[in-house]
Subunit: 232 residues, 2 copies
DNA sequence: TTCCGCCCTCTTGTATGTAAGTATGCAGGG
DNA sequence: CCCTGCATACTTACATACAAGAGGGCGGAA
């Protein structure tokens, strides 16, 4: 377990939020393995806080389906379930596709130009294969689309469920051409927006978002114990 | 304040969840007025529980934007914000419209028949003007659509944000023809599903969902102090 | 050997105590 | 009269103590 004492008083907000972020990141990075039992007491000791903020963080994580709390028994990291991943994909796709349609009708030339600059920066970063930096710019891209649509809340919700997608994605081997493909697809979305074509924007974005899911069966074959057995 | 001692041990689950439900219902019914300050201590005393479950309930309500917690100052019921209501509408509309498209392609004859029976029961209830019972059947209708789409999570998320819409709706005067109109629109959605027409199903459902928002300006004029002042 | 019952430990849920910060009312000086 | 400074009463955030229940190990009886 790589979770360790978090530094307090660093102006990073209340302890419960810091614990929440730390746990969420650890779960998505599979530093906590799916199915693993985690204990409020142990976490509190390791993080050098009391059980109260740990408990509040776990409640939020339960609402996001990252942990399952069973009274008088324990708290468990949820196993990856194909249904849950598809649910997350459905929510993200529905919201972002609706947003990009709005964006196509609302964005002005300056907005499009700014988005173009973002995609150019992504192209530069992708040359060096810097996945981490690219992930940040990718989030900015999708957030910007929701912002242009006048619905920043769409990105907030999408980001919450996106954790489930990221947990799966991190298990897949890094594909060498992956970043370049992402940039190319972002360019297609950008073009559709530039032409103020809602249908094209939605179609290209939908295709783009579905790329993530394509690797799911392979990942499941590789880590069968991380997945929930399906019920037919 | 109509919140009162909740009966424990009634098998209704943990106290924190009961408190959560009670507070959420009270806020949506505007028994707690928008902007009003609510105190952990006072709530705990009235509900005959300790501050801990009250606090956990308030944290969940903060995540859903029903209260705003200001450290060392107080917890306040959020005022109604036009932006927040439109956000809720956007999320619900995006998810349910995407779901009804799926439902139109996946539902079989038995599903359609069951949905038809539900609409018929709605028609009966609407005759008597039983708004409360109708609300239950209305929720069942929208939940069923998401179920038919194979995405029950869509209804879970929609239901969460729907609270913000309900809080507004309850402030509007009951329109005599309202229930009948709702049933008629449900019938239109049902017909589109029966003909397996995703485009028509989406269009009719979208129109149906937007009815709620139409009364917003009038409500705002009637209860200006319940609303947040807009920033331009 | 196998099964039943007890006990002990660990878990989460709840209650209560402590700390720290903000708004408010009041007293006193200009 | 008006402004300033402080004491006080509140608030939430966090820490700790207690309660209730589930699971596993162990011993004894059949």
């Amino acid at each position: 377990m790589r979770i360790d004492r978090l530094r307090r008083g660093s102006g990073a907000g209340p302890a419960s939020r810091q614990v929440y972020r730390a746990l969420r990141d650890a779960i998505i990075a599979t530093e906590f393995e799916p199915g693993q039992r985690i204990s409020e007491n142990e976490l509190a000791e390791r993080l050098a806080v009391s059980r109260t903020p740990v408990r509040e963080a776990l409640i939020r994580l339960r609402d996001e389906r990252f942990v399952q709390i069973v009274p008088q028994l324990g708290t468990f990291v949820t196993r990856i379930s194909a249904a849950a991943v598809e649910d997350a994909q459905f929510i993200r796709e529905s919201l972002e596709c609706a947003a990009v349609r709005l964006a196509a009708t609302r964005a002005d030339d300056a907005d499009i130009a700014a988005l173009g600059g973002l995609v150019r920066r992504q192209a530069e970063v992708s040359e060096f294969g810097d996945h981490e930096h690219f992930a940040v710019l990718d989030d900015e891209f999708h957030a910007a689309i929701c912002e242009l649509a006048g619905r920043p809340v769409a990105w907030e919700v999408a980001q919450r469920v996106k954790g489930h997608l990221n947990r799966v994605r991190r298990l897949s081997l890094p594909q060498p051409r992956y970043l370049a493909e992402m940039v190319a697809e972002h360019r297609l979305v950008l073009e559709a927006l530039d032409q103020r074509d809602p249908d094209a924007a939605e179609a290209t974005l939908r295709h783009h978002l579905r790329m993530v899911l394509s690797a799911l069966p392979a990942i499941r074959a590789q880590h069968p114990d991380y997945f929930e057995e399906e019920r037919p």
